[in-house]
Symmetry: C2
Subunit: 189 residues, 2 copies
């Protein structure tokens, strides 16, 4: 277990995605694990925290979420650039060894029945709030965040510390294709 993994107060969990990072979405159903990349993930509410994520009908991860009613959103880092690009470009349907090929190492928290991706900076475990119209018409899924954790080397005291951490911890923000931006300089209004 990563000794830097620390729980995040649920009332502050929105801050893990408030700056708009591209995320990894993971799920497990009927013994199958999968992970996909998603640029279209967004906070929806503070308390209880909720988020939205867009999951195309072609993705295997969507099926796992519809089956299990649970998923995790995690914030990957610059150090995981190739992993994010790989899980975003390959489908479990065509490549059953997708996760191994991409170098994904999964772990679990003892009371959370969902696979989590090691090496990320933050993890949000979500219960699906079933909204069939949104899911069918817009590929739009709503989750209630029921647990949140972060790596205290880059998120602690309820906020990101990108400015003090190794640049390899910075979040990724997808542009298109294999192009991303890292998050940059801290600013105070």
């Amino acid at each position: 277990m990563n000794p830097h993994l620390a729980p995040v107060d649920l009332a502050k969990a929105y801050r893990l995605v408030n700056h708009g990072p591209t995320v990894l979405v993971s799920a497990r159903h009927a013994g199958v694990d999968n992970v996909m990349a998603a640029a279209w993930c967004c906070a929806l509410d503070f308390d209880p925290p909720k988020l939205t994520v867009v999951l195309d009908k072609s993705t295997s991860t969507r099926e796992l979420i519809e089956g299990s009613g649970r998923f995790a959103v995690q914030v990957p880092t610059v150090a995981q650039l190739q992993l994010v690009n790989a899980v975003g470009n390959h489908s479990l349907r065509e490549a059953p060894d997708k996760l191994a090929q991409a170098g994904v190492e999964l772990f679990e928290l003892s009371d959370q029945p969902v696979p989590l991706v090691a090496g990320c900076s933050a993890w949000l475990v979500c219960d699906l709030i079933n909204e069939p119209h949104n899911q069918d018409s817009y590929d739009l899924f709503i989750g209630e965040v029921v647990g949140a954790w972060a790596d205290d080397r880059v998120f602690r005291d309820g906020r990101w510390h990108f400015e003090d951490a190794d640049p390899a911890w910075r979040s990724l923000h997808h542009v298109a294709g294999g192009h991303f931006y890292a998050i940059g300089e801290a600013l105070k209004a």
Copy 2:
């Protein structure tokens, strides 16, 4: 008129928000204009392009959007940090001169009946797709992007050029309170 304002192909409009910037939302109804800041805005579809934005029931801008069925999402810059913080912290209800106080200069495109904020890097004009359940239960609004423009000093050839532009053009990514990050370094997987 800003001579650098250039139309963006609607099929590429999602790229204006794909990297997760905090945006400004503007609307006009019954002769009233308003602008608010929103960190919770996200692409929803490619073609026709759609996006989601979360608008709290306390905001005046939400009323204008419900009344007019139209709004604009624009991407503000590091140069507009104080403006973004000001329109995000003051309500038109309490401060009728909010826009002037914040230094907001509005402009219009001749065929677009919605006020736009000068000095931003990109503008997406949206028709509200009315979804009462989402609006009432989650404060979640869906817009179809019917027109998109960008400043060609920072977005051209269908993509952002933050890495080549003055750092004052970088997008803002809200953390909490008056704290933001600017978008950072370009990375290629």
